[in-house]
């Protein structure tokens, strides 16, 4: 099998996936309490349509998407709305959330409005797209970009290629790996829905070559799909190298095309969807179930019994960690997502949100904080940058308040993958400076507009 890869840059971090790769997805018990932030996606927050003391059923719409660039929120348990209030958000700060409490332990009554659409093949594209939007589906790979937006190419922009992203290049995470092994059929059902909406002529499923079992499973499922008349996707192996699963790198690896600076995959005729998102699309369209649960890898060398769990959205992280046997000793750091791009949270009371692919509690030795030292100009940051920028130099520009220069050197093309900071021998926090610089540039721009 040919192994594809992006051309330049990237790093080989210790995969650390063996902790959970062989563990089947476990169904987590129903949480007693869920916290559902109104902003679990990129775009405008959803607007609540319930009030405190309202009774809600599982899958019921509780906050709707008023803007086009938004996503609705559904109740993930059966119970009572106890509060509409600000709650600590996994991505930082306190943001409005709907808090639900369940009536009883096993009480899980589904919203009667949920019904399957076995006739989905006869439905027009725009209806399917609307169903995906109404189900609150966002990219489950981590970015939480509303899926219906990606499925709505602007007038005149044709989409030829659909890439289903099963790369999972972040160390430690195995949620997508398990999903491919255990729910390949559902993923392919989702793929056929996406194919129909986009009208693509070619579909790929990309998987890192460190997951040969997932590749085999998806090839098999793809053959089965072909037998029943579906346009079968081509399953391709991509080299195990971080950040192979990044949209722009994956497009380059498979199609040899580069997304222009400031552009979207649509500009080169490509749409990328994560395998988890494809499964969620099938769930929403065929069974009518909105996005109220997802697979989360709970892992790390400071977790007693790491595992992959199917959990309701809004479940507090502390509940999940308890389910995974708790901590070995005390936790030094809790990371939502993987070690390369995940967000460290300061409390385990934050909820699992739609984009939470993993909860990582690493061993102290892995995360020792080092003091930054002077840059020795070794050039490693440039060597590993998959966007071929000069990452280390951004620090000089931002520190020296040369924001225009940082922009000229395409700071906004940096996706903050962290490869540069991972290798920097001087331990310079390059990603931190880049984030700070981008925020400063944005603020300056809004100030200029206000004037």
């Amino acid at each position: 099998m040919k192994v594809y890869t992006f051309r330049k840059g990237g790093v080989h971090a210790e995969p650390a996936k063996a902790l959970t790769a062989s563990l089947p997805i476990r169904q987590a018990p129903l949480p007693r309490r869920v916290i559902l932030p109104l902003a679990m996606h990129t775009g405008a927050p959803a607007v609540p349509v319930v009030e405190p003391k309202d009774q809600v059923k599982t899958g019921q719409l509780i906050a709707e998407a008023r803007a086009q660039f938004s996503a609705p929120v559904h109740a993930s348990i059966t119970g009572r709305v106890v509060a509409l209030e600000n709650h600590i958000h996994p991505l930082g700060g306190e943001l409005p959330a709907i808090i639900l409490e369940s009536g009883g332990e096993d009480h899980d009554e589904w919203d009667p409005a949920i019904r399957p659409h076995l006739d989905w093949r006869t439905l027009p594209s725009h209806t399917l797209r609307q169903m995906i939007r109404d189900a609150g589906i966002v990219g489950l790979g981590g970015a939480a970009f509303p899926t219906h937006i990606k499925l709505t190419p602007p007038e005149g922009k044709g989409v030829e290629i659909l890439i289903i992203n099963g790369v999972e290049c972040e160390p430690y995470l195995t949620a997508d790996h398990r999903l491919m092994l255990e729910r390949s059929k559902q993923i392919l059902q989702g793929v056929s829905i996406l194919q129909k909406i986009l009208g693509v002529s070619k579909t790929f499923v990309a998987i890192e070559d460190n997951k040969p079992d997932a590749i085999d499973r998806m090839v098999l499922a793809s053959k089965e799909a072909e037998d029943i008349g579906q346009m079968a996707p081509e399953v391709v192996a991509v080299r195990t190298k971080y950040p192979q699963g990044s949209e722009k790198q994956l497009i380059e690896a498979i199609t040899k095309r580069q997304v222009p600076i400031g552009g979207l995959p649509l500009d080169v005729g490509v749409v990328i969807q994560n395998v988890g998102t494809a499964a969620a699309v099938a769930e929403a369209v065929i069974r009518g179930v909105p996005l109220i649960q997802r697979v989360v890898t709970v892992t790390g060398r400071n977790i007693r019994q790491p595992g992959n769990f199917q959990v309701r959205i809004g479940t507090p992280v502390a509940d999940l960690i308890a389910l995974a046997g708790g901590y070995w000793g005390r936790a030094r750091k809790i990371i939502m997502g993987g070690p390369m791009m995940g967000v460290a949270v300061f409390t385990d009371q934050v909820p699992v949100i739609k984009g939470t692919s993993g909860i990582l509690v690493p061993h102290e030795k892995e995360i020792r904080a080092e003091q930054p030292r002077p840059c020795i100009r070794c050039g490693k940051c440039l060597k590993v940058c998959p966007m071929r920028l000069l990452p280390g130099r951004f620090i000089d520009f931002i520190e020296g308040k040369e924001l225009d220069e940082a922009q000229k050197k395409h700071i906004f093309n940096c996706m903050e993958c962290g490869a540069c900071t991972y290798v920097c021998p001087a331990h310079r926090p390059i990603v931190q400076w880049v984030k700070f610089g981008k925020a400063q540039i944005r603020r300056k721009k809004t100030q200029r507009v206000q004037k």
Partner: protein, 314 residues
């Protein structure tokens, strides 16, 4: 929620893990690589080589510490970079150099070549070569008084003159056999004699991915090409003098060479061309030191014109 001090979680911006290679480990690797030619120089030149290396490194260490202490800067001697400078400078001097001269040179290397520019990462010129240039200008006799090796692996000692192979070639038209150049049974500076030992150290640096191939390869290619064009023996020019030391250990210095891939190729080629021009038409028999110093000064300019094309730029 954090209930007490004990349970406070750390937060920081991603990434949360690190490759584990830092400035100190890189410098340690360079020192290990330099240990091979270091041992070779002690074998051929005896204890005087050992004392020179020791005095040079210790002076470098003390100078850096004192400077940082006096200027109330952060003490950074733990990164071992000053030892690399010290050892490299000792490799650039003849085995008979008085120890006090060695110490003065090493002090200049660290003070003028490195700390006055702002310390590690900020210097424009390779500090060891700055030291060598100052020594050569100030004590030219000591710096050009060569000694024969004490020991030989093959052949009798008296077969070799005490002049360096390059000055023999330049002034008397005598060419030293390749075998002697390779092993290091020739007179010269501590670290420029045994090409083989330098090569072993360089292989280690490649293996540890401390240095990139571009500068040494373009440097050596340019030397061979120009030597061949000027009807010289390219192999003789490759193996003699400080070329291997310069190409693998000095031109590859991170701080003073371009970080861009194309920039590295241009830098190396420039070093090669100037080295041969000085060897053949300059006042000195050897040109490595000034060639690298000259190219150091062009590093910012080269970098500016060789920035990589970013992903997605049309």
């Amino acid at each position: 929620m954090a209930k007490d001090e004990e349970n406070i979680l750390e937060v920081s911006i991603s990434p949360h893990i690190h490759a584990g290679v830092d400035t100190g480990t890189i410098m340690r690797d360079v020192l290990l690589a330099l240990a091979v030619p270091g041992c070779a120089s002690i074998y051929f030149f005896g204890l005087s080589a050992f004392w020179l290396i020791l005095v040079s490194s210790l002076t470098a260490l003390v100078t850096e510490w004192v400077f940082q202490k006096l200027t109330r800067r952060k003490i950074r001697i733990q990164d071992l970079s000053c030892l690399v400078t010290g050892v490299l400078l000792a490799f650039c001097v003849p085995p008979g150099l008085p120890l006090w001269t060695m110490a003065v040179g090493s002090m200049f290397s660290i003070l003028v070549g490195k700390e006055l520019f702002g310390g590690i990462g900020y210097n424009v010129f390779n500090p060891a070569l700055v030291g060598r240039a100052i020594l050569l200008a100030s004590w030219p006799v000591g710096m050009t008084s060569w000694r024969q090796p004490l020991r030989m692996i093959t052949g009798p000692v008296d077969a070799i003159s005490s002049a360096t192979p390059l000055s023999n070639a330049k002034l008397s038209g005598i060419f030293t056999p390749f075998k002697d150049l390779l092993l290091g049974q020739v007179s010269g500076s501590l670290g420029e004699t045994s090409a083989l030992s330098l090569l072993i150290g360089a292989v280690y640096l490649f293996y540890r991915r401390v240095i990139d191939w571009r500068i040494p390869v373009s440097y050596l290619a340019a030397v061979s090409a120009l030597a061949w064009l000027l009807r010289q023996d390219p192999v003789f020019h490759l193996l003699s003098g400080g070329l291997f030391l310069g190409a693998f250990f000095m031109a590859t210095d991170y701080t003073t060479s371009p970080i861009t891939p194309r920039g590295k190729l241009i830098f190396g080629a420039g070093c090669g061309l100037i080295t041969v021009l000085i060897r053949l038409y300059g006042g000195f028999p050897e040109g490595v030191c000034y060639a690298i110093l000259f190219m150091n000064s062009l590093t910012p300019l080269i970098e500016q014109f060789t920035e990589p094309r970013p992903y997605g730029k049309v």
